[in-house]
Subunit: 209 residues, 2 copies
Amino acid sequence: MSTETHEQRREAQRDLARRAILDATEALLLDDGFDAFSIRRLVERCGYAAPSIYHYFGDKDGLFDALIEERFAKLTAQLKRVPRGEDPVLYIRGLAMAFVRFGLKSPTHFRLLFTPRAGDETPPPSGEDARQLLEVALNALWETGRLRFGDPRTAGQALSVLCQGLVWSRIARPDHDWSKTLNEDSIDALLRGLVAPDDAAASGAGEKV
Amino acid sequence: MSTETHEQRREAQRDLARRAILDATEALLLDDGFDAFSIRRLVERCGYAAPSIYHYFGDKDGLFDALIEERFAKLTAQLKRVPRGEDPVLYIRGLAMAFVRFGLKSPTHFRLLFTPRAGDETPPPSGEDARQLLEVALNALWETGRLRFGDPRTAGQALSVLCQGLVWSRIARPDHDWSKTLNEDSIDALLRGLVAPDDAAASGAGEKV
DNA sequence: CTTGCCGATGTAACGGTGTTACCTAACCTG
DNA sequence: CAGGTTAGGTAACACCGTTACATCGGCAAG
C-alpha cells in the first residue's frame, strides 16, 4: 500500500522530469531553430545533466520522438476541429487547408515531424491518426460516387502529398515570390481533378468499377 | 605569354583538384548516404587534407553548393530531353513525370538539392533553369487560353509543389504502402483541375482577364 | 537500525565533427 | 637570386552525441 503510493510518487517525479526536459526542448527548438539545437545547449537550459536526458529518452532521436508524438497529437486535434459539414469535398478541403496552416505556422515543428529519419528503421510515429482522418473523409466522398479514381487511397495520398509539398516548398524557399493564392488554388485544382462535378454524382453513384 | 600559359596550367591544376574532391564527395554521398557524410571521411577518401578542401570550397556548404550546381545542371538537361510535342498539357505532364523520376532515382541527390538550407541566406542555387523550363511550358499553355487560373505562375507553382511533395513523401516514408499509380494519377488530377477540357479552349482563348 | 538494492542525478571522459592557425614547399615574378 | 603568392600538410580548437563511473537518495528485507 505505502508501496503503491510510493510508486506513484516516483512516477509523478518521473513525469515531472520528462515534462521539464520536453518543454525545454521545445522552447530551445522554437527559439533558436532546428539546426541550432544540441543536447548540450538543452542541458544548459533545462538544469538536468546529460545522462538524465539519456536516462529518460535513451537517445536524441528518442527525445525528438517523444516531442513528435505530442505534436502529432496537437495536429490531429487541430484537424478534428475542422467542421464536418455536409459536403465531403468541402470537409476535405478544410482538412487540407488546416494541415497547411499548421505547417506554415510553425515550420520548426513541421520539419521535426516530416523530415526523413536518418538511417534508423522506426518507420512512422503516430502520425497515423491524422492520416486516418483524411482517409475516412475520402471514404465518405467515395460513398457518394463522385470520386474519379479506382480507389480513395490514391486520392488521399495525392492530397496529402500536395499538402506536404506546399509546406516543404515554402520552408525550403521562404523568400521565393510565392503566389498568394497558391494554397487554395492548388488544393482546389487537385480536388477539381479528383472529384467529378456535382451533377455527375448520380450517374456514377453505384458503379464502384 | 609564358605567363598566360602558366596561369592556364595553374587553373587546370585547380580544376583537377576541385574535380577530384567533388567526385569523391559524390561517391561518398552515394555510397554511404547523406547522413554518413563527413569532411574527415572525405579527406580519407580523396587524398587531400582538410585545409585543401576549405581552400577550394571555403566551407562544407560551399562544397555542397558546388555539387548542387552540377546536379541541377544534370536535372535541367534531363528535363530538356522531354519531347515538346504539340499538346502543351502533355509536355507539362512529361516534365512533371521526368522531375519525379529524377527525384526517385537518386533520393540522396534530391535531398541534397531540396533540403531547406540551414540558417544561411544564399537563397537559391541555379535551380532556376529547371523552374524556368516549366514556366515557359505553362506560358505556352496559357497562350492557348485553356488555363483555369488568373496567372500561369500559380499553376506552375502548384505543379512543382506537387512534384516535390511526391518525392519528399516517398523519401520520408519509403516503406509506406504507396499507391502504384500515385505519380500519374495525382499529376493528371492536378492537370485536370488546372486545365479546361479541350473543347472549352476556343471560348476562353482571348480573354486573359 | 542496518544492510542492500535500485533509480535519479552528476562528473568526466571518449570518439567524432567542422573548422582554422600555422608551417612548409613549390612556383612564377621582379 | 630575393620575394610574394599559392597548394598543401600538421596539429589544434571548440563543439557535438554519448557513455563509464561515482554518488546520493529512499524503500525493503534482515
